[in-house]
Symmetry: C2
Subunit: 144 residues, 2 copies
């Protein structure tokens, strides 16, 4: 199975597959005579594992530990669980911040009913001193 097929089977770009190999998340596959990567079906499972972890918001480093844990059969489930729980905490924190952001934006936009610039609620809101509540948060969602 060539890289394009693997990519199609997992929904990843093939550049992404190569990237995972480069950073050591995927083992280097054997090559055909002409140098093409030759994957086995188990590689599909591994890439799916990674993709699924990403879709749950795990970082590639976290996924690396999850993979290691999943490959050492003498380890208890507890480590995996701890990682997931910690991650859940982080997700909830981000949720809270995002909800606060939504409420504020909504209030801001609500106040601005096509009025004049001098009274624009959006700009006023941005000019106000910082909220006591919300720390700076940046959210970047590549969804293409």
């Amino acid at each position: 199975m060539k890289i394009g097929e693997l990519a199609a089977a997992t929904g990843c770009h093939l550049e992404t597959v190569r990237y995972y190999e480069k950073i050591g998340l995927l083992p280097k596959p054997p090559r055909t005579g002409s140098g093409y990567r030759a994957y086995r079906p188990s590689d599909v499972a591994r890439v799916r594992f990674i993709a699924r972890g990403r879709s749950l918001g795990f970082s590639l480093d976290e996924i690396r530990s999850l993979l290691r844990l999943s490959e050492s059969p003498d380890l208890a489930c507890g480590d995996v669980d701890a990682l997931a729980r910690q991650h859940l905490t982080e997700v909830r924190l981000k949720l809270t911040q995002l909800q606060r952001m939504e409420a504020e934006l909504m209030a801001t936009v609500e106040r601005c009913r096509g009025g004049q610039r001098a009274t624009c609620a959006v700009l006023q809101s941005l000019g106000e001193p910082d909220l006591p509540t919300s720390p700076a948060i940046s959210i970047h969602a590549p969804m293409g």
Copy 2:
């Protein structure tokens, strides 16, 4: 006012302030005899405007247009409002994705009650084929 004071007054790192200057979001301030940046109080307001925009999830490019809009008083509020509304839509989309992520993580973690590796729900869940619902989303929140 020196850059360290500006940073303290706005809650930014001073590298961040320099970065904003570098990309043209902050005007180049005058310098003292020894080359130190000398800021005026109005610069605090501008950096706060940026920080607040960031905390609302605006990109630096969006903030750049907001700043431009806020400085050209003959423009209507509509443009600003449209930007904020568009942004609200994006925030809501991210919220939905994050909520889905939370629900799934929670369900996964709940199933794992200190069981054995062979039946670890977290790993099982990661090994399953991809969800039909959730596209890949990555969230990065620098909160130092």
